[in-house]
């Protein structure tokens, strides 16, 4: 028996204080989970690369467009997307350059948020996680914090680096982008808030559907496909409903603090922000309820 006692001397440990979970410990656990997956790091890298790449591409595109429309005096009729005649006023567009990649990066970051919870269920990890934390909700709450922080941080930093890359490109076309200006910072921050909201929606969908593919498809449909379909159909109902999609609500929110005239295709900025918040609250709220009630 002595060899057995030796072999299993670590089966039992000296009983220290009965330390249990608290929210900081759970946050720490979720941090280890988040960072220990290669797929997470790859997705984050892809999202960052997209942000920077699109900013550079957009700067180059606007630069060449600006140059070509300036050369023949009088310029091309119709002007830039900002809608002015003559020499296009690209200032509004310039402000959006740092955040140009958001519409694609949001899909990657949103999918990552879905996977944070849906992979727990698809791999069986959930049984380990929720056996450790039988109250369950703090696990989702910790994940939500990381998802939101990563969504916000990556979008903001990605946009900032993208802007820094775009500035010299624009300079070569005699265009100037002031990264410190209010308009640029305003859009970068609002985009970062928007992507944080997208990650929370993704997390909510992942926890509700517990299926990675299903939740990602639903998220993409909500963010991308449905608004496009509704934009194509020219009926008042669809036009009106379209305002309430997360993406369009976010577009409305992006006008907050802007000097440009309000676009009637969108809600008021504060309404947009509320609609976006409603998506987050409803999906996450349903996720918390489902997590509490359903068997793991």
């Amino acid at each position: 028996m002595s060899t057995i006692q030796h072999e299993f001397r670590h089966a039992t440990a000296p009983r220290e204080r009965l330390v249990g979970p608290n929210f900081f410990r759970i946050l720490n656990s979720e941090r280890i989970k988040f960072l220990s997956l290669l797929s997470t790091r790859i997705l984050l890298l892809c999202a960052a690369a997209l942000m920077v790449g699109f900013a550079a591409l957009q700067a180059w595109g606007i630069g060449t467009f600006y140059e070509s429309s300036r050369r023949p005096p009088g310029g091309a009729a119709g002007g830039g997307p900002a809608g002015q005649g003559g020499v296009p006023d690209v200032t509004q567009i310039l402000h959006q350059i740092p955040s140009a990649g958001v519409s694609f990066a949001q899909l990657i970051i949103g999918s990552l948020a879905v996977l944070m919870i849906s992979a727990e269920f698809s791999t069986g990890m959930a049984r380990s996680s929720f056996a450790a934390i039988p109250t369950r909700w703090p696990v989702l709450a910790a994940k939500a914090m990381y998802a939101a922080v990563v969504g916000f941080g990556l979008t903001y930093i990605g946009a900032y680096v993208g802007g820094l890359v775009a500035v010299p490109i624009l300079n070569s076309y005699n265009l100037h982008l002031d990264m410190a200006s209010w308009d640029v910072q305003r859009l970068m921050l609002l985009n970062a808030v928007y992507v944080a909201a997208v990650t929370l929606m993704g997390l909510g969908l992942g926890a509700l559907l517990r299926n990675s593919a299903g939740a990602i498809v639903t998220l993409v449909a909500l963010l991308f496909v449905l608004p496009i379909i509704f934009a194509i159909i020219q009926a008042d109902f669809f036009k009106e409903t379209r305002k309430y999609f997360p993406t369009t609500a976010a577009d409305a929110m992006f006008e907050a603090g802007s000097s440009a005239a309000h676009n009637t295709a969108y809600l008021e900025p504060w309404q947009g922000a509320l609609v976006l918040a409603a998506y987050v609250v409803v999906l996450l709220g349903a996720a918390f309820t489902s997590l509490k009630q359903r068997d793991v």
């Binding site: 440990a13 992979a119 056996a131």
Partner: protein
């Protein structure tokens, strides 16, 4: 200690666990035995608070699992191998779980070494064999040095050395006063490991007794009799409550009558008996006896046209060669 009271779980119209009441005592290895789909895993998930009972309660060390301040230090469980994200290493997996309870990394290294995962701890779980997955699951179960250890089919996929290792481990844990609850479909393994047995079939408890009682309680006293006049002896022994089979030429297997009475009857009637051996049922046999009705019901339900074996006596008949252990 684990206490289940009228614990039930119903999925739709399927009753997985049908009001079971049992206690798993500390200081011994309690085996949880039952056919596939009998409700073993569901019961274990309910103990761990992963599945909510439809009815009844289950407590661990006096409180529902979710009410404990430090759950991993109350119960450690291996519910199924590879309840792990395959993209993580064994070390990260253990570290993440340890972090929830502020368990120091020294302890993570200890359980890795003890379960023999040292060489693969930094490798992704994706590439683990079933046996390594089991060892990781056992490492998780021991991580918080819990008072109660639940292992669902722990020897599945383990090599013979691993099987012996698990057997020694659970016996050691029980010897330190811990509660060990172990499910297995390997009856021979149970016979060697468990002190106490809870047998479950179709969601109901069929037996809850020390393992020796389960074995003895099922086999009615049976004896093997070799005689040169089997027909005559059969006639002489025949009475109500006595079953006689003739598995071989000149061999009778008699149940319901003890060896001494058989010898007396043979002597009184001058029948030569050249072997008279009391037989003890093996655990396997006892288990088959206990779960027979449940299993029959199941296969019957699956293929309703298959006729039931005739005869009201539910004894194992000669058609199924029984494995005996000579006393």
């Amino acid at each position: 200690m684990i206490q289940a009271t009228d614990l039930a779980k119903v999925y739709g119209d399927k009753t997985a666990v049908d009001g079971v009441t049992f206690t798993v005592e500390p200081g011994r290895v309690t085996g949880f035995l039952g056919p596939n789909g009998a409700g073993k895993s569901t019961t274990m998930r309910m103990i761990m608070g992963l599945d909510a009972p439809t009815r009844g309660t289950v407590t661990v060390n006096g409180a529902p699992y979710a009410k404990h301040k430090a759950p991993l230090r109350e119960i450690g469980a291996l519910l199924e191998a590879k309840a792990v994200h395959p993209g993580r290493t064994a070390f990260s997996h253990l570290s993440a779980l340890a972090a929830t309870h502020g368990i120091p990394s020294k302890r993570v290294h200890e359980v890795i070494e003890m379960t023999g995962l040292g060489a693969v701890a930094k490798k992704k779980v994706k590439g683990f064999s079933l046996g390594m997955g089991q060892r990781l699951g056992i490492a998780v179960a021991l991580l918080g040095d819990p008072q109660v250890i639940i292992l669902d089919e722990p020897v599945n996929g383990l090599d013979p050395e691993g099987v012996v290792w698990v057997r020694n481990l659970v016996k050691y844990l029980a010897s330190t006063g811990r509660t060990v609850f172990l499910s297995s479909h390997l009856m021979s393994e149970m016979a060697q490991t468990a002190d106490h047995l809870i047998v479950i079939g179709r969601g109901r408890i069929l037996a809850d007794a020390p393992i020796q009682d389960v074995i003895e309680g099922q086999g009615k006293a049976r004896s093997r009799v070799r005689t040169d006049r089997p027909e005559d002896l059969s006639r002489l022994l025949a009475r109500s409550g006595v079953t006689i089979q003739a598995p071989e030429h000149e061999v009778l297997e008699v149940s319901g009558l003890d060896s001494r009475s058989i010898a007396q009857i043979a002597l009184d009637n001058r029948v030569l008996v050249y072997e008279l051996t009391p037989l003890q049922a093996s655990l396997e046999e006892a288990y088959m006896q206990l779960t027979k009705d449940e299993v029959e019901y199941r296969s019957d339900a699956a293929a309703a046209h298959v006729p039931l074996p005739s005869g009201s006596e539910p004894d194992v008949q000669a058609s199924a060669p029984a494995q005996e252990v000579s006393r």
